[in-house]
Symmetry: C2
Subunit: 247 residues, 2 copies
DNA sequence: CTTATTTGCGTACATGGTACCTGAATAGCT
DNA sequence: AGCTATTCAGGTACCATGTACGCAAATAAG
């Protein structure tokens, strides 16, 4: 019986408790995933190789394939394990702005704890249970306002797009510095800095230059910047809602 | 003289015309990049390996390193070569909504022609000249409205976030199908479909289920869906502008 | 012609995913 | 208890990848 039919990891649950013959499993999908997450947190996703994960668990690389069909599926599992850390109340509070602010803060914190999360999340179409839970909460915030479900989905997408790009922006150069093996400060100063300076001095892109030179947000903490952008999106959503409501 | 100092590809221009001794270069950075783009278009970025590109050019893999320091830099070059296809007028027209609609259409068309573009673009912090040109045009659309440059940057970011995620959504399952080697229709039907159906039938996520079942946009063409989402973002921006203008 | 310099590129190495296979462990059956 | 079917553990091996290194070929100045 060859079950080589390729299907979503979420349709291939871990081998259940069973009372037949055969050796007992010594590891678990969650244990493997947790190990992969730890390595990725500390050294980047590219360090979370099958051999490295197995080594951390004290076993051989091929043993992992008893629990995970392919490495890509392990990515999906990692994403969902991280999303499990997003703590949300059971249901919406009635104030959508409060709910989404809470969601935003939680997602940002989780994304910063796992710098690989957003990159993976936006690079593969996955729908794990915890991602669905978070998504459902976001949709729920707009429930009861008389909006069509398509419009709700659109508003949630707007928020999500901001969250993903804002968190990514916050960590991208940190990650890039790590990937190239440079010190974070050195990367900004020696790698990107000179080029930006050259562009600015060339005068070819005056508005871009102004955005670099005249920025009033440069002295803000990353969290304050995040908060400002979030408020902007929430303002935009608030402005949109009346026009979406059928008269 | 070891020029191993790692710096942005944009600070390391191609070896110039020179009249000294030494063998003449037989290839060029642009030629290599163009070849890489062609392969990536047809078979995905992961097929555009150094050996494959070199093979296409009828040379050895190591020859490419005379023109491109690292593979990652080649990605930056590919991004910028693709962005060069975004056709824009020399300056803003005075109607920001028209300008951004044009920009959106151009970026979508380019993103669909090069299904790897958006994924690369959002996965690495790069600032090639053509990307800067497009960005400058977007900023320019809001020039003269009395907005602070930070606010302009914020509005452009909103639009960009939408464009990236919308184009990505439009091609993500196509790409995923190709990556797993499945037929596009089969992928939807056999790979993702059963799981979504199971989630919907479980009743655990009622709003997500409604977004799947009650969607009124299902029968629309991708372009119409894109246009609807774009209008939503532009409406949001329009609603935001007055509140950003200093009184 | 010699020499300095630059490109072309074969070879080689380290690292990656993972197919395959053998051996060990386990529970039910006789 | 012993046999057998079944499952897990994991070593070995294969192939693909980026790229460091070194040498040969080409080229212009002296």
């Amino acid at each position: 019986m060859a079950d080589a039919e390729p299907t979503s990891i979420w349709m291939r649950p871990e081998r259940q408790e069973r009372s037949g013959p055969g050796r007992r499993p010594g590891y678990s999908r969650e244990q493997i995933t947790r190990t992969a997450v730890q390595i990725a947190d500390a050294e980047g996703v590219e360090a979370a190789t099958m051999r490295r994960i197995a080594g951390e668990l004290g076993t051989g690389a091929m043993s992992l394939y008893r629990y995970v069909p392919r490495r890509d599926d392990l990515f999906d599992l990692m994403i969902d394990l991280a999303m499990a850390e997003v703590e949300l109340p059971g249901g919406p509070s009635g104030d959508w702005r409060d709910d989404l602010t809470l969601l935003a803060r939680q997602l940002r914190a989780t994304g910063l704890r796992h710098p690989w999360l957003i990159a993976l999340l936006t690079s593969r179409p996955t729908l794990g249970p915890h991602l669905l839970r978070v998504h459902e909460f976001a949709l729920g915030a707009f429930d009861g306002l008389g909006l069509h479900i398509d419009d709700i989905t659109g508003l949630v997408a707007m928020l999500n797009d901001y969250l993903h790009s804002a968190v990514r922006r916050e960590i991208s150069w940190l990650e890039e510095a790590r990937r190239t093996g440079l010190d974070s400060e050195r990367w900004k100063r020696d790698y990107m800095g000179p080029y930006v300076r050259q562009v600015v001095e060339s005068g070819t892109f005056p508005l871009f230059s102004r955005s670099v030179l005249d920025s009033r947000t440069a002295h803000l903490t990353p969290e304050e910047r995040f908060r400002q952008g979030l408020d902007r999106i929430l303002d935009a959503i608030a402005a949109l809602i009346p026009s979406l409501r059928p008269r």
